[in-house]
Structure formats: C-alpha cells, structure tokens
C-alpha cells in the first residue's frame, strides 16, 4: 500500500509495474532520486541531458495541488533555460515590477524593482508551482522520447534505505507490493519532512517561528493592477500583515498573518476565509476560492548534505521561511550544483571527492538563504517587545522619511550565492575585474549580438574570452570545452564590458557547467586554464 498524502493537480506519471519488481536480484541504477518535486525533476533533467541514467521514485503519481512556491527568480529561470524549459515558464508566468507597501489604510511607499537591463530573464516571475513542475516533466518526456535515460516511477514509496561500501539499497513499496533496488548514488529530494533523512536518523536543526499564515488563492476578474501589495496592520487584519500577489489564470495569492494561538479548523472554514477575502478585496467583488492552506514555518538545516553515497537537496537539506522566495529557488540551485558533479564522477572524469564540494557550496548558500529569510520573518513576526518596538519605529518613520524604506523588510529579492572561498575556485588574476564576476560567482547575463551570453553556456566547461585571443577549439584530457570568443563590441549597450571587464582591457574566464566562474585572467594561458580546470573538478 502506498499512502496518499495529498491531492494531485496533474497526474503525470501513473503507476506502472517495472521489470525491476520481477528481477531475481535488485537492479542497480547509477542515480536514484527520491522525490519528484521541482528539485528532483530538475536534477533528473540535468542528469538525463548529460547521458547519466537516473530513476525518480515518487510516492504519488503527479504534481501536488496548490500554488505553493509562486515566485521563481531569475537564476532559476536561467537554470531552466539551460535545461530546456525556461520558455514555457516565462510565457505562462506573470512579470511584475511595482510593489506597494501599506500601513493601515495608507500607502506608505511604492517601489519599482527596476531590474538591471541586459538580461534575457526578468528579476522573477509569479507562477503556480504545479505549472513549474509540469513544464519540467514535459521536458523530461521530450528528452525521453529522444532516448535520454530518465525513468520516473509513480506511487513508488521508499520504506527503507541501507548504505553499503559502494552502493545504496532501497526498499520500495508499490501498489503491487514491495521490491528492492540499488543505486550508486541516492539523492534525497523528498521535502522538508524527508523520510530518507528520518530513516537515516539524521538531524534537522534550527528555529521555529511562532506564527501562522493563511493562504487563500482566489480567482477573480477584478481589474486590479499587476503589482505586489503588502499591508502592515490593515483594517481587515488588525495587528497582523497581509499580502496580495498576482498569478497566471486570473488567480491571486492572498496571504494573511494569523498569529500563533489560533484554531486551525476555525480559520480554515470556507465562510470564515470568504469573509476575510471580502474584507480585503472589497465586499462587491466576485471571487472563487481556488486553494487554501495554513502554514507555519521554520528555518532549519542538516549539518551535512552528503552522507557517503546519499546526498540531500532542496527542502530535505534545508528549510527557510517563505519570505524572499528562497525555498524552491534555493533547491533548484542545489540541483544545478549537483548535476554536473554527479555526472563527472559517474563518468570517471572527476574523483568522488568532488561531491564533497556540493555540501560545502550549497551549505554556504543555505546559511545565506536562512539568514536572509529569517531576517524578513523577524521583521514580520517580532519575537519580543523590543523587536516590535523597532519594527513599529521603522514603520512610523517610513511614513515621513525615505531613509527608512530599506529598513522595511517584507522579503528580499532571492539572489544566488557567490561561492567565495570554495575549494573549487581557481585564481582571480584579472586586475580591475568587476567583483560581481569573481571566482565562485554565477555568470551575469549580458546581451551578445542578437542573443544573450548565458544561452551560449550550454552545460559544459567553457572558456569565455573578451577582446582576447583564444584557440578555436580546446580540450583537456580529451574532453572538449566550449570556447566563446567575444569582443566588447558584441554588446553595444556596454553591459558585457561592465560585467566582465570592469577596468580591464581584456579578459579570459573559465566557467563551470553550472555557469559559476572558476577563474579569470588577463590573457589566455593554457597551463593556467588547465590548472584551474583540475582545481574545479577536485583533481588536485
């Protein structure tokens, strides 16, 4: 029996009996991914594109109900572009730039995100999580049809995990009974309550925030502008906060802070929610409830994200408060970081120790995400009278003085981590090079002739040269690297030069498969490129 834990929005991978279930001895797979959410599916897609056979086990047969993670940041969209499914997401998603902050009935300020120009993708889009997952699975299906070695098994629930010296053994329950399967590497993408983590007896430490939030997704045709509205102490939710955000399909996300001591059953009653919604959007406005949920949150992380041949990615490894959209976005970056490393190790191109750097880099990112989202939560949910005192002081001041605007923290923009100090980083030998493109940083996009720079970074190691001579082709140990020879004049806006040259007249960059920068130099030197390459695959 496989328990049904939630309703599905789209049934994408109905249960089918696998030959593995009839095998005389457990079948070995290079990679088994447990959990078919956004992180697991993104990782499967990345591995499949790299020709690494992977098996996704999910205990349901499709995508869960509910909009959940609705804000997908630029870095996530760039990763999805590389994976081949960025376009449908951006086509479907809602782009917004204006935010308004209210206190009581007064608008205290508004802001324009004014995203930096010269990027293919917007700062972020609003998109219901089921669509995001559906687009990932659609791309997996397309790749499978072309022969990519990805397999998804629905209603396959892992009930036991055991680690051997050179593989992992999994017990899997299905509607046809249980079977056993083996993996060279197991990646647990099974969410904040990770059953794999629990089965392995591993801890998940952090802070619980004493607050409840009600989500009401409503469909309405009202002619509200496409902007984010945030209220402190509004008349319709006195003493608490509220949020209004637009999603595709005429759906709006309403988020009401409820406080700690509530009766969930009472608050989830349809009539009660409808009263709240009407008080917020106006009594005469017609709407239909699409999805409701009450959530609490905590900021937690595992001590280490790698345990032998088991790796943890996404919410199973770390959980953040929802303010600032760093949950799903952080998880997609986990997959982005892990995909090329697992592929390189399984192909024998890199030592197993490369996988240790997955923990090092993504723990650094998780701590940054926890820090930022916890600060937003502290502002919204003051923990003691002194915290409330300063929060209210900020809100008093912002009604009079612009200086207090940056102090209002209703969620900061999700930005990717720069892996400063990573053991994979090579040398930073470009005098006058811009800080944003230092070793460890994700490449900034920039216009290049008729397209964009990131579209040229296809998932292999790449050498990017600007105003510098490079060979037409390049390989290390028989493996080809992408060579991208550009001139600063390839971008008339100057963004390319600003983002990659700074004060330098010319530059050569070595870039990892996940578009993070390994090292940079004023000119092409094959010996230094090679040394940095070996550094970045853990071969030192």
């Amino acid at each position: 029996m496989v328990a049904v834990r939630y309703q599905t929005a789209f049934r994408l991978y109905p249960y089918e009996k696998s030959a593995d279930q009839e095998a005389d001895r457990p079948v070995r797979h290079p990679v088994v991914i447990v959990g078919g959410g956004p992180v697991g599916m993104a990782l499967a897609l990345d591995l499949g594109k790299r020709g690494i056979a992977c098996l996704v086990l999910d205990d349901h047969d499709g995508v869960g109900m509910g909009s959940r993670a609705i804000c997908f940041a630029k870095r996530t969209l760039e990763i999805c572009d590389r994976l081949g499914c960025g376009d449908p997401m951006v086509d479907k998603g809602v782009v917004w730039n204006t935010g308004r902050v209210y206190r009581d009935v007064r608008e205290v300020y508004s802001f324009d995100l004014l995203p930096e120009g010269g990027h293919r993708r917007p700062a972020f889009i609003n998109l219901q999580q089921p669509y995001f997952e559906q687009f990932l699975v659609a791309e997996i299906r397309r790749l499978q049809a072309a022969g990519a070695p990805i397999e998804i098994r629905g209603q396959n629930s892992v009930t036991g995990v055991g680690q051997q010296a050179d593989h992992v053994v999994l017990d899997v329950d299905t509607p046809d009974g249980s079977y056993r399967v083996e993996a060279d590497y197991l990646v647990a993408c099974d969410g904040a309550n990770s059953p794999i983590r629990t089965m392995m007896g591993l801890g998940f430490e952090g802070r619980v925030f004493e607050d409840n939030f009600l989500i009401a997704d409503i469909r309405m045709m009202a002619d509200f502008p496409v902007e984010r509205r945030f209220w402190f102490d509004p008349p319709f939710n006195r003493g608490e906060t509220a949020l209004l955000h637009k999603q595709p399909d005429d759906v709006w996300r309403l988020d009401f802070q409820l406080g700690w001591n509530i009766d969930r059953k009472v608050e989830l009653a349809t009539e009660r929610i409808c009263d709240r919604v009407s008080a917020m959007i106006g009594a005469g406005v017609d709407f239909e409830l699409v999805w409701t949920s009450i959530y609490t949150f905590r900021c937690c992380t595992m001590e280490t994200y790698r345990h032998g041949r088991v790796l943890f990615a996404g919410d199973s490894a770390h959980q953040v408060s929802p303010f600032g959209a760093r949950g799903a976005n952080g998880g997609i970056q986990d997959a982005d970081n892990l995909g090329w490393k697992l592929a390189a190790v399984l192909k024998g191109e890199a030592p197993d120790a490369l996988l240790d750097s997955y923990h090092t880099e993504r723990k650094q990112a998780a701590l940054e995400n926890i820090k930022n989202s916890a600060r937003s939560a502290d502002f919204l949910t003051p923990r003691n009278p002194a915290h409330a005192l300063f929060r209210d002081a900020v809100l008093d001041l912002v009604e009079h003085f612009d200086f207090a605007r940056p102090m209002v923290n209703s969620g900061r923009l999700s930005v990717p981590c720069i892996y400063d100090g990573s053991p994979l980083n090579g040398s930073d030998a470009l005098g006058g090079g811009p800080a944003r493109s230092r070793p460890g940083a994700p490449c900034s996009d920039a216009p290049v002739r008729d397209g964009f720079l990131l579209d040229r970074l296809t998932g292999r190691f790449a050498v990017l040269a600007i105003n510098a001579a490079v060979p037409e082709s390049l390989s290390i140990e028989g493996k080809p690297l992408d060579v991208i020879p550009l001139s600063a004049e390839d971008d008339a806006t100057g963004a390319l030069a600003h983002r990659y040259l700074g004060e330098a007249p010319c530059a050569v960059y070595l870039i990892r498969p996940d578009q993070h920068i390994v090292g940079r130099w004023p000119a092409f030197d094959p010996a230094r490129i090679e040394a940095a390459f070996f550094q970045s695959i853990g071969k030192v």
Binding site: D392, D396, F403
Partner: protein, 72 residues
C-alpha cells in the same frame, strides 16, 4: 575604519540634554520607548557607517548598569 568618538563631542551638551528630556515630557513608558527607537534609527542613518554603529552598540552594551556591572 573610522573610530567611534567617545570623548566629549557635543557643541552644546546642556541644550541637547534638555531638549531630549523635553521631547519625552508627558509621554508614557511605551511612547518614550517608541520615541527613543525612532531617534536611534534616525541617528543611525545619519551616521551611515556600519563599523561606527557596531562600535556604538558595543559601547552601549558595555556601559549597562555602570562600572563593574557590565560584561566588561
């Protein structure tokens, strides 16, 4: 790094002190606390130097309860 000024630096100490008290006249505890919080934030923004502000925080914490009672 700029050092926090901890030597006398106000050009009109008695006037400032009197103005500070006057601003609190007639306020209850909550209003007084709120006024101080707003004042801290306004002054912090004016100073604008995170290094100076953390030195000021340390100095304020250290002076708690007079000599011999603070954390050192």
């Amino acid at each position: 790094m700029t050092d926090l000024v901890l030597a006398p630096n106000l050009d009109n100490t008695d006037d400032f002190y009197a103005a500070l008290l006057a601003a609190h006249d007639g306020l209850d505890d909550g209003e007084s606390h709120a006024l101080n919080a707003r004042l801290v934030l306004i002054l912090a923004n004016h100073i604008g130097d995170y290094g100076v502000l953390t030195q000021a925080l340390d100095a304020a914490v250290k002076a708690r309860g007079g000599p011999g009672q603070g954390p050192g």
